[in-house]
């Protein structure tokens, strides 16, 4: 491992360790598992749709808890270092500031991927116990959730590189809500076609991260016009690959912007 990668890995490993030892996260994780367990009860109330209810609730729980954790950890990632004054210890160590920031991000992204992986394993155990199959469709949906969470972390990290955790949380949550509703935003822009408002709405829809891309269950996709869900038709591996490229690109932009802001910051 090169020296540079070794330094980034040291920071990432530490960030991962911090998340794993965080009790709040453990509680949220238990909540997600409890939600899956509750889906067994709800499944019993449905008519022969136990597996369907479990898959729906499992994915929703993974996405919801993951989003809360990504938001909570992402906006606190840098501010906690400043509040707890650990930044005074780590910045004078032999590493570049950008290496610190990238290490923090990879640690957090790794935490999110681990979280989704663990919850997917638990969900698959529940599904199999109910006589269902987890399958590739579910795996693709879970990969998309992981990609969404990684992107959300990058957006939160960008805001936290220059603003307080409260403001960062507010900005990130707003972008997430808008990003989840880009289709609605685009159709709203169509209603006001040829007006300045349409341009503004189209601009916003293009600039904000397209979180809708990663949560396709029940969505009507642009190409083909099909409604997809994990129970019927679902997106292809090519779609997942394109979503991954989009997430990587947007994450890269957020990281570069955060690095530039972080590089000249005084730690008083």
């Amino acid at each position: 491992m090169s020296d540079r990668l070794g330094r980034i890995w040291a920071i990432a490993l530490n960030t991962l360790r911090e998340a794993v030892r965080n009790r709040v996260l453990a509680v949220l994780f238990v909540f997600a598992v409890a939600l899956m367990a509750f889906s067994v009860v709800l499944g019993e109330l449905s008519l022969n749709e136990e597996v369907r209810v479990m898959k729906d609730l499992g994915l929703a729980g993974t996405s919801l808890v993951g989003t809360v954790i990504a938001l909570f950890l992402g906006v606190n990632l840098l501010s906690k270092e400043l509040d707890r004054k650990t930044v005074y210890f780590v910045i004078p160590k032999p590493l570049h500031r950008w290496e610190f920031l990238v290490g923090k991000f990879f640690g957090l992204a790794g935490t999110m991927v681990l979280l989704v992986l663990l919850m997917s394993l638990i969900l698959s155990a529940f599904v199999v116990a109910q006589g269902g199959q987890h399958g590739w469709t579910m795996i693709r949906a879970e990969i998309l959730i992981a990609l969404e969470l990684v992107l959300l972390c990058a957006v939160a990290l960008f805001f936290s590189s220059f603003s307080s955790p409260y403001l960062s949380a507010m900005f990130t949550a707003c972008l997430w809500i808008i990003g989840r509703n880009t289709v609605e935003l685009a159709s709203l822009a169509e209603k006001f076609a040829d007006t300045p408002l349409a341009w503004v709405l189209q601009g916003i829809a293009r600039a904000v991260p397209d979180f809708h891309l990663f949560y396709v269950s029940g969505a009507t996709l642009e190409r083909g016009g099909a409604t997809v869900s994990v129970h019927e038709t679902f997106v292809s591996w090519i779609y997942v690959g394109q979503a991954a490229l989009y997430a990587a690109g947007y994450t890269g932009i957020c990281l570069i912007a955060a690095t530039i802001l972080f590089a000249r910051r005084d730690f008083t």
Partner: protein
């Protein structure tokens, strides 16, 4: 070669919504030679920590230059060769001391075997072997300071920068830190430390700089900064009852204490004449002490001058 070199260093913070300018450093100059223990003294708010933060790359100067180990302050290669203990250190409290040292070792590019060996060696050296696997959140202030010293030494630094290393330590802890600094000096490591505890500086430093309100008031070896002239002489004496009154009429300030009669005078010749008179009267000189300027007096006078400037 200068290990730390600072010239015309200025720092102005912009604070609050209206970006109010708060000047903290007013063009300071400093030079620390290899192998010396350099004390950076000043009252609270004088600019010690800001100067150190600039040297460590935590804060950027408004103007002027700061070089560490021949490189610009904050340079990664310079940071590879230095160790730093922040004031009131805070570390990742979910880590144990050994995990903290392992992380620092990774940042210094050490391999796994070296990290393990050096970590164990350091926890022994700073007296934390018994608590090496406990999370740092359970550490007392003194233990945290020791962990801080251990992490500063992890990369076998040529320069160790310590910001108020004795702060919050009990007398035993302070002695241990003093011993460690002396040990580092014997090993040839340059030590730059800030303090407002003057007795520590007196005991440890080859040279000191006194900073007051962002301006260096004095730099040099303690012996040169302190005035060698005798400032006052104190004679503790006793004599037969019939001679007491006569002897007390000699010039100077007379007091009676549990130790005996005391004469304090700023004139050495007066003290000598008085000693001869005591002996002639059949009395006894119990103690004679020349009083020279202490670092504390120098510090206070510089601080007062700085405040008046």
């Amino acid at each position: 070669m200068a290990v730390v070199e600072v010239s015309e260093l200025r720092k102005t913070y912009l604070r609050g919504f209206w970006r109010t300018r708060t000047p903290v450093l007013h063009g300071i100059d400093l030079s620390v030679a290899a192998g010396e223990v350099f004390g950076f003294l000043g009252p609270n708010g004088a600019g010690k920590t800001t100067t150190i933060k600039i040297l460590m790359g935590l804060v950027f100067p408004t103007s002027g230059a700061a070089r560490v180990l021949g490189r610009p302050a904050g340079d990664r290669d310079a940071k590879q060769r230095l160790g730093y203990l922040p004031e009131n250190p805070y570390f990742y409290d979910y880590l144990s001391a050994l995990e903290l040292l392992d992380m620092v070792g990774r940042l210094h590019g050490m391999d796994a075997a070296s990290r393990r060996r050096r970590s164990h060696e350091l926890v022994e050296r700073v007296g934390l072997a018994h608590a090496a696997r406990r999370p740092l959140r359970s550490f007392s202030k003194g233990m945290m300071q020791r962990a801080g010293l251990a992490q500063a030494l992890m990369g076998r630094p040529e320069l160790v920068v310590l910001d108020e290393p004795m702060s919050g330590l009990d007398p035993l802890g302070r002695k241990e830190v003093r011993d460690l600094i002396l040990e580092l000096r014997r090993e040839g490591t340059t030590v730059f430390f800030s303090t407002h505890i003057l007795s520590d500086a007196t005991m440890l430093c080859d040279r000191v700089a006194i900073i007051v309100r962002g301006t260096i008031r004095d730099v040099g070896p303690l012996g040169e900064l302190l005035s060698p002239a005798v400032q006052s002489v104190e004679v503790v004496w006793d004599a037969p009852a019939e001679a007491l009154e006569e002897l007390r009429r000699h010039p100077g300030e007379h007091t009676a204490t549990a130790e005996g009669q005391v004469l304090r005078t700023t004139d050495a010749a007066v003290a000598q004449a008085f000693v001869r008179a005591v002996v002639a009267a059949g009395g006894e000189v119990l103690q004679l002490q020349r009083h020279r300027q202490s670092l504390e007096e120098l510090f206070v006078s510089e601080a007062r001058e700085g405040a008046g400037a």
